[in-house]
Structures are given as structure tokens and as C-alpha cells.
């Protein structure tokens, strides 16, 4: 590698801020190939072709630009250019009250928005030292796991589709749509479901929802089994995914992978087990761990996690008891309407919460939860006012996107597709 080249050998100084800028070149797969063996050999140097995949390209679901340098069909170097979906999430959050941040978090990982809600709510509650009612905790776990299934279904379906198996995608979408219907009944929105609040959740489950959700889970499980039968036993799919986009356990740890991508590489790290939050310590579930860290393992992680999430949700339904869904402290939660209209205290609390926002004690906190793609971290600084003083986000998908050039160097252009799919880059969270 020549001097001044960043990840993958592309000059990253030309576009500052792109992935891997300023890093030394990665060492992949043993010692780097040296120059030609004999001094007298004069190999013909083929011309490299630089192909621009994106920003608008079917493989980059969302908008991402992948600049790929090809030698024939082999990827010699690669650069990722993100930012087409940049919305200034962190800065925008400083301009709203704490409650007004929730809709922004919905748009982070828009496939599993409730997980982002929960992550942010937990962060603020940590700062407030607030303990929420049990039922709210269960409801948060249920909706989070439902959204985890949703996220993984999208990934598996999209992976199948982009490898050419369109049918798998439509099976996954069928299951996802059933889940969206249930979420719409609970939350009111299909995509940007906004459910968590500081101190609890927005609504209790409607009547008969649990039975309907159980039926939906049954159907989803059948569809997942069908998808698994169509893909995991399919020779073409196995050949396409096994051994491609490989990342070792060491490299995965070094690059900061979390979530299914890290576990696929063999590191059994899951925040739900390592630092249980909400009620995860009361639930019986396993975390799947792979061994090869290739696309096939990452796919298997997703399938198995969907089954485990299914198990978690059913346990929650069994364990959950009637009760409050939000704290009865009007410094944090809006008072019920009769109190607002009937009492002066209620009206005042409502006015203060809406106009000034929740007063969060001054201090800073880092809160982390296990989102669908890995560790979702919120670094929150409060000056004691009604608005966040500073908010930082650790997006789960970001390290995996940054790791793409390491995973793909030397592989075929066609391997880019399953690898890009299996890390599940969601533009909303990576580009904030």
C-alpha cells in the first residue's frame, strides 16, 4: 500500500470524513502480496475500472454511494460515501424538549423504531433515576422484540431478493405486514411507531390484542420456517453466502462490531445478557452465536434471533400483570385529562410539561441497549433544563458499514451484495 492511502487503498483525503479516512491500510488474510517474484518478470498490468454503485442503486437500499475499484470483477479497493440521508439528528434534538426527541429517534432505524424509543427513554430515565412500572417494562420488551423480528425479517427478505430469490422477500413482507398491522393497532402508526415515553409507554394494549398478536406470531413463525427452508437448504444461497464477507472475531472486536454481526463472528456478547435492562433478566432466552463470521452465519443469527424473540414475547405475555403503564409522577408523565381539566395542580403540571418540558437533573449519562443491529448508545448531557444540552448517538450499524472495505477486499463484485445486505445498513441511523 502506498503512502497516503486510506482503507482499501483509495485516497480518502479527497473526500474527508469518508469511512476509514486517516487510518492505515488494513492487514487482511495474512501477509500482503509482494511485488512480482522474479526481477525480470514484467507482468502486464490490467487497467482498473472504477465503478460507482449508487447513490441511487438497487443494492443500496437507501442512498449510499459505494465507489468500487475493479480488476475484472474483483474488488481491489472500495470507498463508502455516506451522508445522503443526513438530517442533523443530534443537533435537532437540542432544539426540542425531551419528549419531542422521541419522533426523531423513530427515524433512526426506521425498520425498528420502538427500539430507538426505548433506548432513548432508558437513557433519560437513568439520568432522572426513575424506575418505571413493571407493566411498562414488559410492554417495552414486547414491542422491542416485535420490532426486532420486523427488522430481521426485512434483512432476510432483502438479502433473498437481492440474491435473486424474490419469493423469499414477499414471504418476509407478508409476515412484516401482519406485524405492522398489530403495531398500528397498538401505536397508531405502521412505520414510525412511537411508543415509549419518559417514565413508561404511551398506551396500554387494546382489548384482544394479545390473542391477535399471538396468532400473528404463529403465522410469522411458520413463514420464518418456510423462508429458512427455502434459503438455508438452498445450494445456490449457501454457495453465495458461505465464506463471503468474512470477518474474524478479532477484527470484528477491533472494528467495534456489535449485535448479530459480532455474534456471527463467534463473540457471545449481547447486552440483554451482559447488562440486562428492563425485564430481560426475568426471561428465559438464548443468544445464538456463529463461528465463521461470514454472510451465512450472519443470516443464521437473524433467523435464530427471530425465534428467540418469539419466545421472549410469549413469555412476556404470560408474565405480564395488569397495572400502571407510566409513572404517576407528574413531573415526568402527563396527568390524565380529568385532572387537567378538574384540578389546578393537574393543569399546571400539564402546562409545565408541554411548554417547558421535563426537567431532567443536570449530568451526563451513556445508556446502551441491544437494538436489532447491535449496541444502540445514547450519550445524553443535561444542564437541568427542559431540553437536552447535548445528545450523542452510537449508531449500531456504523462500525459495520465502516468495516465493509475490510470485509470485501479481494472478493468478487457479486459478493458485495450479500455482504452489504447482511450487515443491514440502515441509512437513517448510520447517517443520523
Amino acid at each position: 500500500m502506498t503512502e497516503g492511502k486510506g482503507v482499501g487503498g483509495i485516497d480518502t483525503r479527497a473526500t474527508p470524513g469518508s469511512a476509514g479516512a486517516g487510518l492505515s491500510a488494513p492487514q487482511l488474510g495474512g501477509p500482503a502480496a509482494g511485488p512480482a517474484d522474479g526481477e525480470l518478470e514484467a507482468p502486464l498490468r490490467g487497467k482498473r475500472m472504477t465503478v460507482n454503485l449508487g447513490p441511487s442503486h438497487p443494492a443500496t437500499h437507501g442512498v449510499t454511494r459505494l465507489v468500487v475499484e475493479l480488476d475484472g470483477e474483483n474488488i481491489e479497493a472500495m470507498k463508502i460515501d455516506i451522508g445522503y440521508l443526513h438530517r442533523g439528528f443530534e443537533k435537532s434534538c437540542e432544539n426540542g424538549t425531551w419528549t419531542q426527541v422521541f419522533p426523531y429517534t423513530d427515524r433512526l432505524n426506521y425498520v425498528s423504531s420502538i427500539m430507538n424509543n426505548v433506548g432513548f427513554a432508558l437513557g433519560v430515565e437513568k439520568l432522572c433515576r426513575l424506575d418505571i412500572p413493571d407493566r411498562a417494562k414488559y410492554l417495552r420488551v414486547i414491542t422491542s422484540e416485535v420490532h426486532r423480528i420486523c427488522d430481521h425479517l426485512t434483512l432476510v427478505g432483502a438479502m433473498g431478493m437481492e440474491l435473486g430469490a424474490m419469493t423469499v422477500f414477499l414471504y418476509a413482507i407478508e409476515a412484516r405486514d401482519l406485524i405492522y398491522d398489530r403495531l398500528a393497532e397498538l401505536v397508531g402508526a405502521r412505520l414510525t411507531s412511537n411508543y415509549a415515553r419518559i417514565g413508561g409507554v404511551a398506551r396500554d394494549v387494546p382489548e384482544g390484542w394479545i390473542e391477535k398478536m399471538t396468532k400473528t406470531l404463529d403465522r410469522t413463525r411458520d413463514l420464518v420456517d418456510e423462508i429458512d427452508a427455502l434459503l438455508a437448504r438452498n445450494r445456490i444461497f449457501i454457495d453465495r453466502t458461505r465464506g463471503t464477507g468474512k470477518v474474524s472475531r478479532e477484527l470484528a472486536c477491533e472494528l467495534g462490531f456489535t449485535g448479530p454481526c459480532l455474534r456471527a463472528a463467534g463473540e457471545p456478547y449481547d447486552i440483554r445478557k451482559a447488562a440486562p435492562y428492563l425485564v430481560y433478566d426475568r426471561l428465559d432466552f438464548d443468544i445464538p452465536v456463529g463461528s465463521n463470521g461470514d454472510n451465512f452465519d450472519r443470516y443464521l443469527m437473524r433467523i435464530e434471533e427471530m425465534r428467540q424473540s418469539d419466545k421472549i414475547i410469549r413469555q412476556c405475555f404470560a408474565q405480564m400483570e395488569p397495572g400502571d403503564i407510566i409513572v404517576r409522577d407528574f413531573r415526568y408523565a402527563l396527568p390524565p385529562k380529568p385532572l387537567v381539566y378538574g384540578t389546578i395542580e393537574g393543569l399546571m403540571a400539564h402546562f409545565k410539561l408541554v411548554m417547558e418540558g421535563i426537567k431532567v437533573p443536570a449530568g451526563e449519562v451513556y445508556s446502551y441497549t441491544e437494538a436489532a443491529n447491535g449496541e444502540l448508545g445514547f450519550y445524553i448531557v443535561s444542564d437541568g433544563g427542559g431540553r437536552p444540552y447535548k445528545l450523542g448517538l452510537r449508531a449500531p450499524g456504523w462500525p459495520m458499514v465502516a468495516g465493509l472495505p475490510y470485509m470485501l477486499k479481494g472478493s468478487l463484485l457479486a459478493d458485495l451484495i450479500p455482504t452489504y445486505d447482511s450487515i443491514n445498513m440502515i441509512g437513517g441511523e448510520v447517517e443520523q
Binding site: 475493479l70 438464548d286 456463529g290 463461528s291
Partner: protein
Amino acid sequence: MNRFVGMLLFFAGVVAGLIALSAGFYWVAGWLGWGFNALANAISGTPGVVSPGAISFGASVANIVTLLLVLVMTSGALLTTAERKWSAMMQNRIGANRIKVFGSALGGVPFLAADALKMLTKESVEPRGRTRLLYQLAPALAFAPVFALFAIVPVGMDLDPSQIPGLASRIASGVVQPIGLQIARLDAGLLYLFAISSLAVYGTSLAGWASNNKLALLGGVRASSQMISYEVSLGLSLVGSMIAYRSLQLNEIVVAQGQSVFGGIPAVGILLQPVGFLVFFASAFAETKRAPFDLPEGESEIVGYFIEYSGMKFGLMFLAEFVEVAVLSGILTAVFLGGWHPYLFEGWLQANLSPFWFAAVGAGAFIFKMTLMMWLQFTVRWLLPRFRFDQIQKLCWKILLPAALVNVFVTALVLLLDPSMQLLAVVGAVTIVAIAAITVAVGRAPAPEAGHGAAHVVAGH
């Protein structure tokens, strides 16, 4: 029960429709032959003479119209709708049904007109820096050879023109050559097939090269390497059939498939040449460039060799794929599925029907089998993911080609030992049983996990 009866009625209707269509093909061929004869007589001033040359010329012209323009074009166009509807069936969807004619979606068929209209009226955008001539030529080059392939496919059996309704009083039987539903009866037969099918690669690779686009170029390169590789196995897979039936002519191959080995069992190609059938099917699939062999298109990676084509130029390439499916299904039917032999109650039909209607039933059976093959290709296309570039070459050179070569030598050896094809039928049946057994055994085996241990479950730590 009602649904079942309805389904039976529907299928009976389809079969009756196909037979009526085939009867129409024969009728047109016969009458156009007679018309040319009358024209020739009018020109040369010799009324009442029956000239065999004029009649067979007229029949050929009629065949071009009926087979190429009606049969192939219609099935190619219908396949665009069929693709939507059949894939919808597999995916628990309804499929295209938004266009309604008097309140009925008509199975999505009106989408044909909508698609055609859309393609024709779209603006034709051409990229800067294209190679103008080749860019314009490529869609035609992609389309024409595929179309021309059908010329040697025998859709129906030979029929004396005097048997056609209305012509019996005009032409005495046995005077003129029988007419068949085949456009050109070339002695070269299958060699013509190889020659023409290899021309199709020019269209795609030139489209990729001429449109001054890197992604299109990649698609064109992929297309040329894939199609040239698979031509080898495509050709070799048919050599076994040539040896077995001792002919290159497709019509003679079909006739030979009517003879019986072991009493009632016919010498149908799929029984004698199961390996040839599988290799040909896979290679034909690769030639059509459809999933799982759709690397040149690869819509999620390189979008395809036709990325810079719009409007009807793209439509032509799109249609060429569908026509190729139809044509290769036709060849598959002729070589491996007994062509126009109805097989079911064939003896009874032949004894009890007039030759005209028996021929119509035969041609109807051909179209039915052809449709079945097209349906099979679509099923595979919607079920399987796409290969990778190196895997596709490995499949060709390391699996299909050796299999085809072994098949050639085994067929030749077996026929040398027993020219009556009985031994070949036995070998074929054993192969089919073996392939089925292996498929079942592999299908039941647990998923391969060697070295992966993937998704084993670790309890919390």
C-alpha cells in the same frame, strides 16, 4: 368439489382451444397453399393444374405467419403476463389485475396492451458517447436469432393437404407432398440450432459494449462469457439424442420417438436421455439469461447490459428473453418430450379420428407440453437465487460438460451393444431412478453444517 370440477372444465377448455388453434394452423397452411396454386395457375395461364411446388411454398408462408407470428409471438407476449400471474401464485399475491375490461381483469391479459403501449410511447433516451450503429443494432441482434430458432421446430405432424376440410374435392390424395407445421425442414436440423443460438450472444455483448456505460459493459462481458460457455454443454447434451435417433432433423427425431420399446412404453427422449435432458434444460436456462442464471442482468448488482436502453429498444431485449423461453421450450418438447405425439390414447385417437383432427390433436399436445415446459422454467426462475460469476462457470465446465460428455459415450456404447434402443431405455430408467433417489436422500439429510456450527445457542454468561 365445485372448484375441482371447474378446474377440470377449465383444463378441458384449454386443451380444446389448443386443438382448435392447431386445426386452424393446418387449415390456413392448406388453403394458403391452394391459394398460391391458384395464383400460379392464373399467372401461367394453366387453370386446373395442381402444382406441388406452389402448394408447399404457400404452406411454408402460412407456417411463418401462424407459427412465428401467432404461436411464438403470442406465447412470448403472454409470458410477460404469465410471469406476473404465476409468480403471484407462488408468492401468495393476486398479481396484475388493475386493468379491467367491463369489470373483469381477464387474468391480467389486458396488461399486454398496456405494456406494449407504454414501451412504444416512451421517450427513447440515448447515452452520449455510444457507438451509434452498434447501439441501434443490438436489440435487433438480440431478438432476431431467438426468433429464427423456431424455424426448425416441428409443431405438428405431416398431413396430406387433401385431408384438410374443403380441399378434398380440389386435390387428389397422394398427389402433392404432405405439409407439416414446420417452417423449414433442414437436413442440418440441430446444427442450425447450434449456429443460430450462438448468434444471440452478439446482441447482448454489443449492447453492453456500445452503450458507453461501465455497468452495461460488465453485463455484456458476463453475458458473452456465460453464453459461450453454455453453448458447449448445450451442444453436447443433444449429441446423445442425435446418436439414439440417428438423425439431425427434428421432425425425424420426433417420429422416432413414436416407436415403442418394451411393448407400450414409447422411446421418448426423456427416458432414453435423462442426463441429456437435464444438461440441456440447465444450459437452455443459461442461454435465456434468466434467474438463477441472470448474471448479465443481475438487477441488484450491475443492473444489466440493457441499462442504457429505453422504450421499445429495451422492450425488444425484454421480449427476446420471453421468446427465448418459448422457443427453447419448443425444442425441449421436440427432442425430449416426444414432440407432437399425444401418447395418451394415441392408438385409439389415430384409429377413430380423421387424419386432419388427429394431426390437430398432435399439434395441440405439442403446444400443451411446450406450455408445461415454460411453466417449469418460470417456477425455477422464481424459486432460486442467482449464481455468482465463478460458480456459474464451475457449474458449466466442471459438472454439466463432463456429464454431457459421459452421456455421449455411454449412449454410443449402449447403442453399439443393442441397436434396438431397449438397453438404452433400461439405462435411462436406471438413471432416472438413481437421480430421484439421490435427490430424495439429499433432500431429507440434515442441513449441511460442517465447520460452521452456526447458530448454536449459547446460554447467557
